[in-house]
Symmetry: C2
Subunit: 646 residues, 2 copies
Amino acid sequence: MNKLTIIPLNKIEIKDNFWDRYIGLVKEVIIPYQWDILNDRLEGVETSHCIQNFRIAARREEGEFYGAVFQDSDLAKWIEAVAFSLATSPDPDLERQVDEVVDLIGDAQEEDGYLNTYFTIKEPENRFRNLMEGHELYCAGHFMEAAAAYYRATGKDKLVHIMRRFADLICDEFSLEKNSKGYPGHQEVEIGLYKLYEVTGETRYLEQAKMFLDRRGEKPNYFLEEKKQPGFKHLFDEFKNYDTAYAQSHLPVRRQETAEGHAVRAGYMYCAMADIGAAYDDAELLKACEVLWDNMVQKRMYITGSVGSSGILERFTTDYDLPNNSNYSETCASIALALFGRRMAQIKKEARYYDIVEKALYNTVLAGIALDGRSFFYVNPLEVWPDNCIPRTSKEHVKPVRQAWFGVACCPPNIARTLASLGEYIYLAQQDAIWINLFISSRVRTVIQGQEVELEIDTRFPYDGRIRVSVNSPVPVRGKLYIRIPEYVKEYTVHMDGRALDTGVGSDGYYRLDMEFASQTITLCFGLEPRIIRANPLVKEDIGKVAIMKGPLVFCMEEVDNGANLPAYYLDTASGMEEYYDEGILGGTSVIRCKGKKMKSEGWEAKELYTEKRPEFEEKLLTLVPYPYWGNRKTGEMLVWIREQL
Amino acid sequence: MNKLTIIPLNKIEIKDNFWDRYIGLVKEVIIPYQWDILNDRLEGVETSHCIQNFRIAARREEGEFYGAVFQDSDLAKWIEAVAFSLATSPDPDLERQVDEVVDLIGDAQEEDGYLNTYFTIKEPENRFRNLMEGHELYCAGHFMEAAAAYYRATGKDKLVHIMRRFADLICDEFSLEKNSKGYPGHQEVEIGLYKLYEVTGETRYLEQAKMFLDRRGEKPNYFLEEKKQPGFKHLFDEFKNYDTAYAQSHLPVRRQETAEGHAVRAGYMYCAMADIGAAYDDAELLKACEVLWDNMVQKRMYITGSVGSSGILERFTTDYDLPNNSNYSETCASIALALFGRRMAQIKKEARYYDIVEKALYNTVLAGIALDGRSFFYVNPLEVWPDNCIPRTSKEHVKPVRQAWFGVACCPPNIARTLASLGEYIYLAQQDAIWINLFISSRVRTVIQGQEVELEIDTRFPYDGRIRVSVNSPVPVRGKLYIRIPEYVKEYTVHMDGRALDTGVGSDGYYRLDMEFASQTITLCFGLEPRIIRANPLVKEDIGKVAIMKGPLVFCMEEVDNGANLPAYYLDTASGMEEYYDEGILGGTSVIRCKGKKMKSEGWEAKELYTEKRPEFEEKLLTLVPYPYWGNRKTGEMLVWIREQL
């Protein structure tokens, strides 16, 4: 199938007012910080033991395995993040660090290609016998992704060779002859196998990924059968009462129509379905992707681009069940959503997928990391009352403060690899065309009809709607430039070299320029006024409330700006909003102020809980800041959905 | 201390329009139904095995223990309910059933007095070695309560003797010499020991109960030490990460100022603190009761008189954290609240305690049982969206439909004993006076200054505010009659034999008549118009919402009367409310109708989740029925706190 291609990271250079602070963190803070953690060199954070596990598995040291069964994946994600970083910003010292750790990984690999320190050290006899919980295939997938990324960044193929050996073993172990029923309990290896196929051309990996997908949901359920085997023992207490929908094995993937179960598992699976569907031009599989995407983003997604609303099991629940102060909304699930959306845009060439990708990246993914890069949110609530987030209660998973590091360390390295690969989200290409999907100041070199063309985006988006795209092609060449017109842009202008163009947007949501690429400047001006958003009234939690957005950014109230008891504020939507850029807070950001009122609690005595008293209000100015920046100042309440003064 | 006394049940006869349907169920349905369950004679409900466990422990049959570690308590609560029922409604066949089962209990008792089928059958070597989870003392307490009640109802003391033997063993095992630190992981034996003291006069039981209370909270924490003993094994997975506040052992009880931990444990402990505090005239302990009561009812209680807002661990959280659609609010916790409130009223002689007792009984306790007596709620939400109550999610504990029987069967027998002992809640007495606390049509015989006096209450409360109290004393005698004026009664009149009296209410909240009891009729007329209630604005979940009450009854909207998406309704509090009695629904009840509007979801396309669309409304009449009756018709949504049309 003719899907759009991702332009390699080393062809893209980002220099953006909004994103630089985050991307800079990846190399300066997150990569070294996470390396220290993987090596247990940091005090006061949860012990990782990750590298040590590899040393023990490699027989370089004596000791016991420590950590989660999926601890290896932390190293894989770190390598992938480093690879993305090296692609745009070479660093011989860092590269040497990776080379050394790749050697270690090679040493930890068993003779037959098996690679997983937990099972190698602790339960060699139980390899692949607990697919439901074992995470061997999950870790394998992340290492395959890392191998592909590192090869693309550096041309070094040692990790690719290591992972080929493991992939070959997996293809044997899960071949039709040997185990024709098994598939992973946490999807990810399907993505990894696909990437390994991309860099090696080995179609066996592609076929294995497809088989894994198509086995899922077969009756009888593999995981339930596996549990009945003699000697089976659970790794997680909470899996004793296993729900087949948890890992999306309740139905064949082609027949799944609603987003169910653990949100990260779901998201990675949908990515693989899109990869495999496109690779085989499998209309049925791609149709399932569309149906699942639509269900997820039209009925089960927060305005911040997060998914998985249940605090228990980090899972999807049902249509429109979107509580704001007890949701899970894992950072990794939003990353998976962005990865899936980008694939759908590659396949369907429709801008609407990027409306969601952008929302997820600008809001939940960025909220996941502190402005100093040293602490992280797993859980991304839309409303926080710190006092209520008490251990061992229904809101204990909601943290009002980002955490330094977690025992289950999936989110921080996942954020790192996402930021390091941000370039891959901006552009897409095909032989005669280039697509601009995100408005991030950057320069890209790509090839159109055989000619190298350079494009440069210059903008202060999302704070400002003016976007300048400079085209520079030494040899003029005909082609097409597609520029995404976001769904939230109601009015815009387009100029080429100062000349106004028509502003008809295609049914695909892109503004298309059929042009000769030479030396031009295209200027877009998007209306980016703050917007008042309301949820579908079937979202019961949001009835009578509004949220404020500007471009893709959701705004929120924080206690530090507004005082306590934020739910007592009412926003006057009939008055205008004032927006200004404040250099002084949060490293410089847009701030929005609105008129409104607050229900007074001052007149209430502490002993009055329920009375016939009428509410009293006082006029207030409401101050809102971008959601990704919440929780970077004093600990306090936060609120996205604000009561509307009707 | 001179606390008010409870008038024995056999002196009270209830014949009440509102309550009879429930009380009738106890004898006709619940007692035989629960007996069948205890004997595993019912199909389609969870297996109890309770009687069978006793048979096995008694060596009458062979077999294995089955059920929860606290399964015995189901039988104890059943006996207590039967005892209360027999007190007002003798039944030789039923009494014979109890006598037989008491014989069985006696046979199941070990030589040294120990009584607990789980440990006798399964872990005889582990008696009293896991107080945190073992529930031996909890079951003992319930049997002591049952023994006292059965003795009072029938004069038969065999069960009292059985429980004395066990109590003596407990006093030995937990004496200063043998185990001076231990106390129960689930409070209840303190109440039981106190009742056993009441019927036997044995002060050793009183002293042991006091010791159990005063040991709680000592450092180091008993339960945490107990866990360190060799051979300790957990009975419950969720207790591995034990929080000492869970069973209120985080602080000495006298220093506890906020209601913490598991709500039923807390409530039973507060009852015991009141019992022991009064028995010893222990001002410090009674002060702690007042402080805990105030914290609980002024900051941590729902308008329906329910407590324990966390779905995880069924526990208290923090002040004003009262979510409506994910709360636990266990029926048993409201029963404990009523038991505690009655004790506080006995001690403090203040009507305000009964405002809460009445609220708990009329709303949450009754909501716990279906109108046919055959199904039950453990969890009592104030807002239900059936679609969202999905297994393995944050709302999985919320059931939109009452359940036939539970594996953990605490609530149904607890409701039964509460209904069967309702008479104990109506009146209180002391040597020269009688108190009327609840307005339930009934007749009571009591003794004032040595003379037998009869009082009769005749009313259609809570639907009607007229209450007639007829006094009949063959020998006129001077005394005092106290009638509670509920906090919600703003206007009322009092007549004696047709003559209007002043209506000054005392600072204790009672209307006091110093009178010669002879043959009089006192007529009260309470203003009981439906009221619009608002919560303290610190209850964030209720901001901008109102609840409707009439007398003690909370009203709610149900989908069957109003259609779906109840949170989209706005109540117009500026218009009046229409109230009428409808014979045709729910066996006859008051219905309230209010004007309002509904936010329309019809104009929204299924794919629109977040837009700039303005809300549209349509006028609606809102129909409300009493909260205790919810869920007795079609399964659907339910809502107590309704958005206010401001």
